[in-house]
């Protein structure tokens, strides 16, 4: 038993953090928000060459051949930069044997994933090459419908939405318990991404608290501010451990309810941390320019993603 990342895993995390923080900084996020229909294809190929989409694909199938533990580490880093686009969906699509779609691993294809639900909001529709649809136990691969209009005001400026009137038809995709596997993967990577969003917000808030003065003192020295940030840090530490444990358990085929657990605590921790960031910033936290709200809004989007948080709560309750 050893739940501390290995040297290789730490190196992977550091590499991703370096790449992502340079490539998807504040300006890049706002550039993406200004072009809501598009997915940044250059970024996608770069993520592909970093191994983001091939992580879970065997080496002899062209992938990196790593496991869910590494995927959790990588997607936390993507979350730290609020990387736009359907990264989770694309990485999951890459794991489906015989999907019959080229270019996923190297980042030339962008694949979306949607749960058939009401309202049927598809994320990043105009930037997709293909759309996986989860409907109960079935999985289909559809061409993204054309001629649709995105909703004008998506909650998250980095997550454009298109409402479809009907579930798009497509080709059934087979695979052992595939719908369940996709939901589990989506829940796990979504939790990792949320931990990253929370960690970025905590860092932003902590830096501000160390710098900003009011009443002649750095505000981070006030207990009220310090404890808000400490609560956020506690939540994230626990959530990160839970995400890592769930990922490792998935690799070891002993996941039990650990993914649902991770999903629940990661969501709560990410909410606490992103709101703490906004609160600590006072008035500045309410401005559009500060990235804090991007982190919070993406947390809200991920809560409702495939295998939403409330389903995880239901799954744990059913196990009691």
């Amino acid at each position: 038993m050893d739940l501390e990342p290995t040297d290789d895993q730490n190196t992977l995390r550091d590499e991703l953090r370096r790449f992502v923080s340079a490539r998807v900084d504040h300006d890049a996020r706002w550039a993406a928000a200004a072009q809501p229909g598009a997915v940044d294809r250059d970024l996608w190929r770069e993520l592909g060459s970093m191994g983001v989409f091939g992580l879970l694909v065997a080496e002899d199938a062209g992938g990196v051949g790593l496991g869910w533990a590494e995927a959790a580490i990588v997607f936390e880093e993507l979350g730290r930069a609020a990387v736009p686009g359907p990264t989770i969906a694309t990485a999951l699509a890459a794991t489906i044997d015989g999907l019959g779609l080229d270019g996923i691993v190297d980042g030339t294809a962008v694949v979306g994933l949607v749960e058939a639900a009401d309202p049927l909001f598809v994320e990043h529709l105009d930037g997709l090459d293909a759309l996986l649809v989860l409907d109960g136990g079935s999985v289909t691969l559809a061409d993204p419908p054309t001629g649709t209009t995105p909703v004008e005001h998506p909650l998250d400026p980095l997550t454009p939405l298109t409402m479809l009137g009907a579930i798009p038809t497509g080709r059934a995709v087979e695979g052992d318990d595939l719908a369940h596997q996709l939901r589990a993967g989506s829940a796990l990577l979504g939790a990792a991404f949320q931990v990253g969003l929370g960690a970025a917000a905590l860092e932003l808030g902590t830096d501000y608290a160390k710098d900003r003065e009011q009443f002649g003192r750095v505000i981070g020295s006030f207990q009220a501010v310090k404890h808000i940030l400490a609560d956020a840090a506690v939540g994230l530490e626990v959530a990160r451990a839970a995400v890592h444990a769930a990922a490792v358990a998935r690799d070891e085929r002993a996941e039990g309810h650990r993914i649902a657990t991770a999903r629940i605590v990661a969501s709560r921790a990410a909410h606490t941390a992103t709101e703490a960031c906004i609160q600590v910033h006072g008035g500045m936290g309410y401005t559009w320019e500060l990235d804090a709200h991007l982190f919070l809004k993406r947390v809200l989007v991920l809560d409702q993603g495939p295998a939403p948080v409330h389903a995880a709560v239901g799954a744990v309750a059913a196990s009691l």
Binding site: E152, L155, H293, Q304
Partner: protein, 391 residues
């Protein structure tokens, strides 16, 4: 104690109701929720003019300044009845009628009163507030915008922030530092800045909700006549704070009544989405409804105190802290009830998602609008419980 209105209060309410019933159908439609500030000004000041003509302008102002001189309870009735009837909000008349106007009434010279107050009451003039600065948030008194005397003018340079309605205001109530060497509360002066003075650069600020309710104001050698000063030089902190002593516990009445409507609507939405079948949703919504109802009782208590003692005292801080907490939970519950429909501010699913999601985002601002929660808690801990100050 009684909740029932007195005969006089009933008469006031009935007269108001009759007037609202007659007048509201003739009010033009509210301009759409975008950034056409002139249209908003025309709408808001048009309503102020109607209030003036009917004798409801400056409802809480003393009669000697042209106000109605209504009691705190009558003001509460006014706010409740206008809100429930769907009358326009105070809008861009906010600073003029509720802060700058009362300050001038209390502290200015007869000439200044005559010059500024009628324009507020009649809806001729719109005011904005230039208090907050980027470096002076909750610690407002540390403001650094400086004013240097040059003949019969102050020359003002600095930056203000969180200014509402700056684009359409005629005047700004401005706090400036006139003595940089004095203790921070003692070097501040209050003055009226005409918004057409050269040197004022207004830049709209976008909030995280995507709206532009506020502006930054950059002041570059803005020349303000000395006669525009209200109160003594360096006595501006006291002048600015004097309106707080008029606080009658009515500041959040429209907000609170709006939240009652939001709760009722969320119950409707939950019935449509099926979330109503979840005991957790019903229970949490009931607890929120109970809290709002209790805060309405607190509002009446605060108003009663103001009627008895002249001010609601620390009751305003108590209200804000309680209300903030409830609103945050209502916002979270909204998102839970809406599910994926809450991911857009548009409302393709027909669930009034826009109202709820916007309010959810708005809750993130409550700590700004009302002073941060931490400071309110210090106020309650120190003034109500008598706990020692930190330093």
């Amino acid at each position: 104690m009684k909740l029932a209105l007195t005969d006089q209060e009933v008469a006031f309410r009935d007269e108001l109701r009759a007037w609202l019933a007659e007048t509201l159908p003739t009010v033009p439609p509210e301009p759409p929720h975008d950034d056409d500030w002139q249209a908003k000004r025309a709408y808001d000041t048009g309503w102020q003019r109607r209030l003036y003509e009917a004798g409801y302008a400056g409802i809480a102002w003393p009669k000697e300044y042209g106000g109605r001189g209504a009691s705190p309870t009558e003001e509460l009735i006014f706010l409740e009845e206008t809100e429930k009837a769907g009358a326009p909000y105070v809008g861009c008349n906010f600073v003029g009628t509720l802060h700058a106007g009362p300050t001038i009434g209390a502290e200015a010279t007869p000439e200044q009163k005559a010059k500024y107050l009628p324009g507020v009451l009649k809806g001729d003039n719109v005011w904005c507030q230039g208090f907050s600065e980027p470096g002076a948030g909750s610690d407002l008194a540390s403001l650094r915008t400086k004013a240097v005397l040059d003949g019969d003018h102050y020359v003002v340079t600095g930056q203000k922030i969180w200014t509402s309605h700056a684009q359409i205001a005629d005047y700004c109530e401005l706090l400036v530092r006139t003595d940089p060497d004095a203790p921070k509360h003692r070097g501040i002066t209050w003055m009226v800045m005409p918004m057409d003075t050269p040197g004022i650069d207004i830049r709209p600020m976008k909030t995280l909700a995507g709206t532009s309710d506020f502006s930054e104001m950059f002041l570059d050698e803005v020349r303000i006549p000395v006669e525009n000063r209200v109160g003594d030089e360096n006595d501006g902190w006291r002048v600015a704070m004097v309106t707080f002593s008029f606080e009658r516990g009515t500041a959040f009445v429209s907000e609170l009544l709006g939240s009652f409507r939001l709760v009722a609507d969320l119950a409707e939405v939950a019935r449509k989405t099926g979330a109503w079948d979840d005991d957790h949703v019903r229970r949490e919504l009931a607890i929120i409804a109970a809290e709002l109802e209790a805060q309405w009782a607190l509002t009446k208590r605060n108003v009663s105190r103001a009627a008895r003692f002249g001010t609601a005292g620390v009751g305003g801080s108590v209200f804000k802290l309680a209300y903030h907490d409830t609103k945050v939970r209502l916002g979270d519950l909204s998102m839970e009830v809406l599910g994926r429909a809450g991911l857009a501010l548009d409302d393709p699913a027909g669930l009034s998602a826009v109202d709820h999601v916007e309010r959810r985002l708005y809750t993130l601002s409550l700590s700004i609008a009302a002073g941060t929660a931490q400071i309110q808690k210090n106020i309650v801990g120190e003034r109500m419980l008598g706990l020692p100050r930190e330093r």
